[in-house]
């Protein structure tokens, strides 16, 4: 049985079972939370910036399906060292590429939740938007 060849590639399963940067930061520059009500996926992310607005550390916690949690874990690894401009430039295709598997249209929201959370968090931090929490179903 070769389920792994498809959506649950070893990598995703590994990140799901052993999430990287899981937990919270002592003194985050900003924290933001988002959900995908339809699926019940939840991601909360802490981000720490240096003086040049480059991400120095990041941590997340959450609840939900493998795609949402593994993509958050994978994203945190890539975020470190990124400037907020680079975060702004992330898009849906980056997330899907990063996961490295085919994502059915029904699950795209699971795959992009973590990206939206960090982007909205960064926007709020810079005063660009005013938002309590991200809700993917609103978009």
């Amino acid at each position: 049985m070769d389920l792994g060849s498809d959506i649950y590639r070893q990598q995703i399963l590994d990140h799901y079972r052993n999430p990287r940067n899981h937990g919270s930061l002592e003194e985050p520059t900003f924290t933001h939370e988002g959900e995908n009500t339809m699926c019940g996926d939840l991601i909360e992310m802490d981000v720490e910036l240096d003086d040049d607005d480059v991400i120095t550390s990041v941590a997340f916690r959450g609840d939900g399906c493998a795609i949402s949690q593994a993509s958050a874990s994978m994203l945190t690894e890539r975020l470190i060292g990124m400037s907020l401009e680079e975060v702004d430039a992330l898009d849906r295709d980056d997330m899907i590429d990063m996961l490295g598997v085919e994502i059915s249209p029904m699950r795209v929201k699971c795959a992009v939740l973590a990206e939206k959370v960090v982007q909205d968090g960064a926007d709020i931090h810079r005063g660009k938007i005013d938002l309590d929490r991200t809700n993917l179903d609103d978009s």
Binding site: M38, S104, P105, M106, R107, D137, D138, S139
Partner: protein
């Protein structure tokens, strides 16, 4: 025969897609179907598309995770895109699938009307409205205390635009008008009506049930706020209608029907709504019907709506010419084929339209007789009923010849 051949479609080829045209009726005569304004026939590709859904990917939509549901969801959502493009809407957010034109208009009257209308507000409609708009606005006006006002007609069955200017004013909250009258055939100047509504900050609701099947329609350039039509009149299946609405209006509008899949989050105490267009599609939608409608749109586009319009005009023109030669027939509506849709309501002196339809049936000619859901218009014309012949892509000049033969036979039978 007085018909410009080049204006006509390749009817022989089209007819092969409509198995029902092989029916022989009565005295073994081939069916001549001239009841298209009531409902169009349905080509095999549309019937097949629905059978394929049932036989290959029968599932509920709303993004279930299993393969069949994914396929059905994508097909159903694609249908919205196809319809949006067909009518010049900005995207699927502006295209709500309902069950028919009637529900589409009720949706607007209930959701928009109950919230925005009150005593002092005026609802302006036309004397040629179909009951779907007329009765609905009449009743919603009654409930809200709003006043219903009618735009009158000219003697040749067009909208009286000076009456329109009088009726549409600062108290007008909504102007609701039929695009093509299903009785008079009149093509109304909807662009002007929309402009007049907007000048007075009213919304414009257009009933396109007879227009979308017959001619190119672009809701965007028309600038209508809402536009309603039915699948079954445009080669699609029964059980599906469309309501186009401007996105920013739909965003602000309260939902109409409540239930599954139109919500985003529900608790025991309150609910939040889903994104467009799903906010207005409660419960399991017409899935097979949406897929069938998509196929119908493809079929119409493969012919070309411009060419369909010319075909209709050529048939109406020929029919008017033949009717003109009969001096005991009264035809209602404008004379100029370029300003009317492909349908003709008429009366034969001395023969009641019901009797005429019955004699026609002996000739295997299907026409409609009755009030065509425009009773007040019939009162206005001072008749109780009329006969109506309406044409579509598979009709040909010889169908009109059979119609005229039937009229001649009925006259003979009843007057002899």
């Amino acid at each position: 025969m007085g018909v410009t051949g080049s204006a006509l479609l390749d009817v022989d080829r089209i007819r092969r897609d409509f198995p029902v045209l092989e029916r022989r009726l009565g005295d073994d005569r081939p069916l001549v179907y001239l009841d298209n304004s009531a409902t169009s026939l349905t080509p095999s590709p549309v019937v097949d598309a629905m059978a394929t859904y049932y036989n290959e990917y029968n599932a509920n939509v709303h993004r279930g995770l299993h393969q069949l549901s994914q396929e059905a969801s994508i097909a159903y959502e694609d249908a919205h895109d196809a319809v949006a493009e067909f009518i010049g809407a900005d995207g699927r957010e502006e295209v709500i699938f309902t069950k028919n034109t009637t529900e589409s208009l009720n949706l607007v009257a209930y959701s928009w009307g109950l919230e925005h209308l009150g005593p002092g507000d005026e609802v302006v409609i036309t004397e040629m409205e179909h009951h779907a708009a007329l009765v609905t606005w009449q009743q919603i006006a009654r409930r809200t205390g709003a006043t219903l006002r009618y735009i009158g007609l000219t003697d040749d069955g067009r909208l009286d635009m000076s009456s329109a200017s009088e009726r549409i004013g600062d108290d007008t909250a909504v102007v609701s008008a039929v695009h093509v009258s299903n009785t008079l055939g009149t093509v109304n100047p909807v662009d002007d009506l929309v402009d007049m509504a907007h000048e007075h900050d009213a919304i414009a609701v257009i009933d396109g049930a007879q227009a979308v099947p017959m001619r190119p329609v672009d809701v965007g350039s028309m600038d209508a706020d809402f536009y309603a039509f039915s699948g079954h009149k445009m080669l699609g299946p029964t059980g599906i209608g469309v309501l186009y609405g401007k996105e920013e209006l739909l965003q602000r509008l309260e939902p109409f029907l409540y239930g599954g899949s139109m919500i985003e989050k529900v608790t025991f105490d309150e609910s939040r709504w889903n994104e467009l267009p799903w906010k207005f599609e409660a419960g399991t939608p017409p899935i097979a019907e949406g897929i069938g409608l998509h196929r119908a749109v493809d079929y119409l586009e493969s012919i070309g709506m411009d060419r369909i319009q010319r075909h209709e005009e050529a048939l109406v023109s020929y029919a008017l010419e033949r009717f003109d030669a009969l001096d005991d027939v009264e035809v209602y509506g404008p004379r100029d084929p370029a300003t009317r849709g492909g349908l003709l309501a008429f009366n034969l002196e001395t023969v009641h339209p019901h009797d005429l339809a019955q004699v026609m049936n002996d000739f295997a000619v299907a026409i409609r007789a009755g009030d065509h859901c425009t009773q007040p218009l019939h009162d206005r014309l001072d008749i109780t009923a009329s006969a109506r012949a309406s044409f579509y892509v598979y009709n040909q000049p010889s169908d009109i010849d059979v119609l005229i033969d039937g009229i001649d036979a009925a006259r003979e039978l009843f007057i002899a």
